[in-house]
Symmetry: C2
Subunit: 415 residues, 2 copies
């Protein structure tokens, strides 16, 4: 990896064979645009479109598992050929969630309008919306806005698109990477929005990935599945599942560079995608309500179910999160969260270390260097490790802290 500013976390080493591209041009075959259509009252960009001009485009997608999925998620899951997504249309400012039949009709209208603008079949359009829940879309403005994007679609339009899907994210989350494979170089772009459920109204993780590699749809689905599990499935801002989370990977094939399953090229491309999504996920956790710090909890031992439960309990604990915010070395909150996740397991033989400083062995405190610990928890990234009895399992979660900014954003800027 050449020098660049994207892979900032020590938990995501920059992969080999990958070069960061500064100008942000989309992979071959893609065009994008972003504009303002008046959903946001302040006139900021609120409508975006990404189009692949390649007929052979393959894709894969993942959605929120919420029982209260938004209308665009329901529409895209049921009406869109998820393995052939040519266009992605997104509005911010209104989530089109809890809007009933009218919401489904509005999502269909967005898809039809985007299909006409992009020149693709309506079943090849994915729709996403993010913003206030329970308010009908201003669909006429949005339709006009989508139509107006047509002349603006361009290879350099990713930044405008990324701006249009942003809500109150403190900083943009996008990257353009070139990945040098044996078969040739392919480009990989990611645009994302999300900073937790960061305001009373804006509450979603949206991630869009494009590449010009030639990728079978099955292979795209597998790669997206594995990399999502290792990135976005491992972050916790506030433990709250959105109605609208959507991740779409599109491969235009326009580079002519084919990625075959079970080859060195697949491994290199997969590592690049994995690193990019993990770094974006960390940026989302980092953005969480102006968070000061990001924590990583690593749980080893036990069976997988228990390890996952412990990792979730620590990452979602408001006591652990406020301690992280306050740079409080109080490890009692870690064992409290572990104990809460394992009811009936007392006496609990658990080891705990923070930044490699061992504070607890077999469930009981051990002497340690309090000064070094206090210093360690003041850093921007803090690592906690919990070792359960038994071998084999491993679970990992990244989480933002819980501070006054979270309360202010979520309580004081009321609707």
């Amino acid at each position: 990896m050449s020098e660049g500013s994207f892979f900032r976390s020590r938990w995501v080493p920059a992969p080999d064979h990958v070069t960061e591209v500064a100008d942000g041009t989309l992979p071959r075959g893609f065009r994008a645009a972003g504009g303002a259509c008046g959903v946001k009252a302040d006139g900021a960009r609120d409508i975006g479109l990404i189009v692949s001009d390649a007929a052979q485009t393959t894709s894969a997608a993942r959605f929120s598992r919420s029982g209260a999925q938004s209308a665009p998620v329901l529409h895209t899951r049921h009406e869109t050929k998820l393995w052939q997504i040519r266009a992605v249309v997104v509005n911010s400012g209104n989530a089109n969630a809890a809007t009933g039949q009218r919401g489904l009709e509005d999502a269909a209208t967005m898809a039809a309008t985007a299909a006409a603008v992009a020149g693709v079949d309506v079943h090849q359009v994915a729709v996403a919306s993010t913003g206030v829940i329970g308010v009908p879309l201003p669909i006429e403005r949005i339709s006009h806005g989508i139509t107006a994007l047509g002349p603006d679609l361009r290879a350099a339009g990713a930044t405008d698109f990324a701006e249009a899907i942003r809500t109150t994210d403190a900083f943009p989350k996008q990257v353009t990477l070139d990945v040098a494979l044996e078969a040739g170089t392919v480009r990989l772009c990611v645009q994302a929005k999300g900073a937790g459920m960061i305001s009373p109204n804006f509450a979603t993780l949206l991630v869009f990935v494009q590449t010009d590699a030639v990728l079978e749809a099955d292979e795209a689905d597998l790669l997206l599945s594995v990399c999502t599990k290792r990135s976005f499935d491992r972050i916790s801002v506030d433990g709250q599942l959105s109605t609208s989370d959507t991740i779409v990977l599109q491969a235009s094939g326009a580079s002519g560079v084919r990625i075959e399953p079970r080859t060195a090229d697949e491994r290199v491309f997969g590592e690049a995608l994995d690193a990019a999504l993990r770094q974006v996920a960390l940026l989302v956790a980092r953005d969480g309500e102006g968070a000061r710090r990001v924590g990583r909890i690593l749980v080893r031992g036990g069976d997988q179910h228990l390890a996952d439960r412990v990792a979730h309990a620590v990452a979602d604990s408001p006591l652990v999160k406020t301690a992280l915010y306050g740079a409080d070395p109080n490890w009692g909150r870690i064992i409290q969260a572990v104990g809460a996740a394992l009811p009936g397991a007392a006496p609990l033989k658990v080891d705990i270390s923070i930044e490699d400083i061992v504070v607890c062995v077999n469930g009981a405190y051990v002497e340690h260097d309090g000064g070094a610990l206090a210093e360690a928890v003041r850093r921007e990234e803090v690592e906690y490790e919990v070792v359960l009895p038994g071998e084999g399992a491993e679970a990992e979660r990244y989480f933002s802290d819980l501070g006054h900014e979270y309360v202010t954003i979520n309580a004081e800027y009321t609707t």
Copy 2:
């Protein structure tokens, strides 16, 4: 119920046949005391003892289900005859949790010292500790403190005891009630501490109940079980389970008034205990980090498992809690929490009302009086109702809001 200040919540109507007693004298047979032994650095009371002088005393107890149970919880569960607890000894300022073998020995020392002072068998002593986790007890100070309480034990000592178990509770939580049964009048006293995991170090719910009724141990256990499920099992300050939660009910029998199973007297006594514990539980939620408001979520319909899950999800949601704090009528956060609790259930046919104002039917918004809703959520108690498809189940949770005071207490007063 005569006039009194205890039953303050509209969700706990004062029961019939119950009179609040102002002077706080314990039920016949009981004596209590509270003092300072230097666990708390500021010299505040930190050691308390309750003793029943009646040999026929019966009892029942409940404990935290945490896998990281504290040493006093482990000691009491394994060494104490839970149906014959004569004495309860409690220190605040140190939880004696995550302290290994030494912690168990210290808890045994507390029990032995209290047994000597109270003149009861060591296996009839329950031990509880609350405070910092992972630091060994200053056991010599505590032993001296327990011994020093002996001369102070008295029928009017409940207030001193309640003071000694308090940590940073904003207000005391105790009540003395006379319950008029057909067989005669019995007294019922409750002392509790707890305001969520309210500070970096102090983190426990402790509840002690005394009565002079004659109660079989089985009957005491049944009553405590039912009333705990309807009170303390239904509150959420921050969704965090402590290492040390302990509830003890003792019946001295000194009134000579026997409560027989399946009689009108049992019903009246049970209603009094139920109302007292529910009101104390609401006080704990209300105290939660200087909370402004308490919410009640009532879920109807569906099966019991789903109803419970939805009630927990709403009560533990930081987004719902910050909205409650900010008096934000944004009901999108309720449906977000409901959807998160019911993955895969989309499209979700759910009805939502806030303070009887219907905002969502069949999963979609309905027109409602926004001004009336904004007014309703400004009250001290706010009620949310969620109706799931299907009939039969009902779940209820009380929860405090999440505001700046929670962050300040948990992040800024660092150890």
